[in-house]
Subunit: 460 residues, 2 copies
């Protein structure tokens, strides 16, 4: 049964239990989030202490609130949680984000079982405990109690991130913005006393705002349900997964972190691969994959053309492509060579990788890319731009962005360097061009894209 998580992401109103006037308290930070983000629903504060909070009078209990609540955020010490959760149930609250820690992750298994039972009894959709909760830039919901100056906030987009761990979740959120792409939904679900990874994936599978699902998990709670969903989900949209606890020692560490039983990674990995999941081995890989899938371009085949303004970078990228058993260096068609022979200076060898030399600017890149875009022998394009060279500048970045709009083929950029390069990287990424900092990450991302669409388009 698909659980409806809509009240979590799109609540018409919200109550904050543990709302506080003390700026150090989690309940204060979360309240400020709702105000600062511009959340347009009604906000109710709940606190036993009747003192005003930011000029608002708190309710003693959710039971005193007349309206039916879409979402209740709870940020109070663990021992006090069962009682207020019971009240949420009686008030018919639809969903709860339980921020508080102090449950199974420190051995308080019974307390957590109590929580699960109450949520079940009242049919509450509960996220947590021991989590960061929800962020949805469209509905302006943000339960993350993180200091705003410590991380950048992503713009609205189509990638949804699911992270069991709060700290890993906050790093991912910070990186999303740094990598320049947009967020649909973010959910950190902690100990999964009620809503688990399978519930969330199922919801996101059917969510029109989500085109790509990215997950960091430490364990899978309901293996059979997960397996059933896995069969279907990747036929709908790509799922990128990073599973911590790959090794025996890692699995033990996961147990003490979110009380997750990690299980055998080999078994998990076999399932992931079989059902077309993209498997990441590191946090940064999650982001590399996410941005190529966000562009939603399906390659027609595995033949890659490389255009570069640095010969050495072309050689390294050729190595990276040739090291993949899925990718292949394209042969330029005779027509492409004929066209290039008219426009390229004599020092440019008409081959793949096409080395345009260090003085190449927007004009030469344009002349080189135009026939390559139309070459039927080429399925995907890697454009290397080393911005340290004399010819590369903002006009070149603008040229590549413009050309991208005219084609269907997947195209990625490799650029690596400090300030001047970073500036252009942001310019290109915010226009939907994935930029990679190494041949390795570009090649592995193109490989993932190819393999996913091969899986998806394969007739069963």
């Amino acid at each position: 049964m698909t659980r409806d998580l809509t009240p979590l992401f799109k609540p018409k109103n919200v109550a904050i239990i543990g709302a506080s006037a003390d700026p150090e308290k989690v309940g204060h930070i979360i309240l400020l989030n709702y105000i600062n983000e511009g959340y347009s629903g009604k906000i109710y504060l709940v606190n036993k202490n009747p003192a005003e909070i930011l000029g608002m009078k708190p309710y003693k209990s959710v039971l005193d609130i007349k309206e039916r609540l879409d979402c209740v955020v709870i940020a109070i010490p663990a021992p006090a949680v069962p009682e207020v959760l019971e009240e949420c149930g009686k008030a018919k609250a639809k969903s709860v984000v339980l921020i508080s820690g102090g449950f199974a992750e420190i051995g308080n298994v019974d307390l957590q079982s109590q929580i699960s039972a109450i949520a079940k009894k009242y049919n509450i959709v509960l996220v947590g405990p021991n989590c960061l909760g929800i962020m949805d830039p469209r509905s302006r919901v943000n339960t993350l109690f993180l200091p705003a100056y410590k991380l950048s906030k992503p713009k609205i987009g189509s990638v949804s991130f699911v992270a069991q761990s709060g700290a890993v979740g906050s790093v991912i959120l910070d990186l999303i913005e740094g990598e320049g792409f947009g967020l649909s939904k973010f959910i950190s679900y902690g100990n999964a006393a009620d809503v688990d990874e399978t519930d969330i994936m199922e919801y996101l599978m059917n969510d029109d705002e989500t085109k790509v699902i990215v997950m960091y998990i430490e364990g899978i709670k309901r293996g059979k349900a997960f397996l059933e969903l896995a069969r279907k989900i990747t036929k709908v949209k790509p799922v990128i997964i990073l599973k911590a606890g790959r090794t025996a020692a890692g699995a033990t560490a996961a147990l003490s972190h979110t009380a997750a039983l990690a299980g055998s990674y080999e078994a998990h990995e076999a399932v992931f691969r079989q059902f077309g999941f993209t498997i990441a081995n590191d946090l940064v890989d999650l982001l590399f994959y996410a941005k190529i899938f966000e562009s939603e371009r399906a390659p027609k085949g595995n033949r890659i053309a490389i255009i570069t303004n640095g010969g050495g970078a072309g050689v390294l990228t050729t190595d990276a492509i040739s090291s993949s058993k899925y990718l292949k260096l394209a042969e330029l068609s005779e027509e492409t060579k004929a066209t290039l022979s008219k426009t390229m200076p004599p020092l440019v060898n008409l081959r793949n990788p096409l080395d345009l030399a260090g003085d190449a600017g927007d004009k030469r890149y344009h002349d080189a890319l135009y026939p390559i875009i139309n070459d039927p022998n080429i399925d995907m394009i890697i454009v290397i731009i080393l911005f340290q060279t004399p010819g590369a500048d903002s006009k070149l970045a603008a040229e590549v962005i413009e050309l991208k709009e005219t084609i269907e083929k997947p195209m990625v950029i490799i650029s690596v360097g400090t300030q001047y390069t970073e500036m252009h990287k942001i310019m290109m990424e915010s226009s939907g061009l994935p930029v990679y900092d190494s041949p390795r990450s570009a090649a592995m991302s193109l490989e993932a894209l190819l393999r996913y669409y091969q899986y998806k388009n394969h007739k069963d």
Copy 2:
């Protein structure tokens, strides 16, 4: 025979052939470099056109210069090079940096052979052609014709970088600064008509200013001499090598780039491994390795402790360590556990990885690191600091920097994120603490450090 490259790096005087008043010309940019860097030796300009350049009168030929020249930089079109090189020989110039392209890399093999022959005849130490040349921040030599605003310039340090390719060289230079460590010498040697990778390595092996050698090469010119040197060099100092042209397609691409015969990579790699080289597979890896070797700390064993403020990051790092067949997760000693039990809050499990939780600040990190530093069961330390969490701030970064001074054990940081994180990353790196953006890069760097010192300390 060791070739003396000192006149290239530490010239008492320099002549620039092709010096120009036109700001677009390479000969102008190089002249400006010498002036702007504050090079203190005498600078001679050479140009057939007698017009003044930046207020200086050029000589018609190097033969007109009375003083014996330590270094001549040549930046004129390829066909004119043999004649002026002959003049350099007659003037007994000690060394030449031949910037010009247009030789073997575009098929002009004969022209290049002529250059080689002239250099040999006059016993000139010649770097190039088709190269960026030399940078030495101590002597303030800089022949790199790159727009200054496009790349950051590294500070003085102890790592020397050798890059056959100019563009790859310029990227490396830019990244060195971004990674926060210092440069001893930089040399881009292009087609290697005279001085080759073996000459350069041999010189750097004996160079007191160089503690770590990092190389990007496309081919090896003199296999036998290289092999002889390889036997000795890593017993003196670490060498990190990235060899492009690993695959057949990559080797073909290398041939058209710097006319390098790449040879079989398997054969190369076997030699590199056998003689204790650290092998990089990507440009960014070169930098990861360089910064851990720069710290010059030899691990006593392979047992690693992980301290973290994010449980998930601890799990991922445990996975990365356990995936290496060389590294091992340490067992905390009973004494360490006893000490920690007095200072850690109850929610901290006394195990490795040690998860200090998201509210950990400088005090808790100090209390945790102190016993771990002194634990005889621990050889190397990974400190994970997720700066997105509430407790992590500049005081914590300062604390870790201070603790680092008191220990001999290798210690690295994992921090990943955007602005707030980057600020602290620079703070820690410029204090000599290597910072990594992923468990993978931290683990592979510690593994490389361990393997190198095991090789170096092994009695033959």
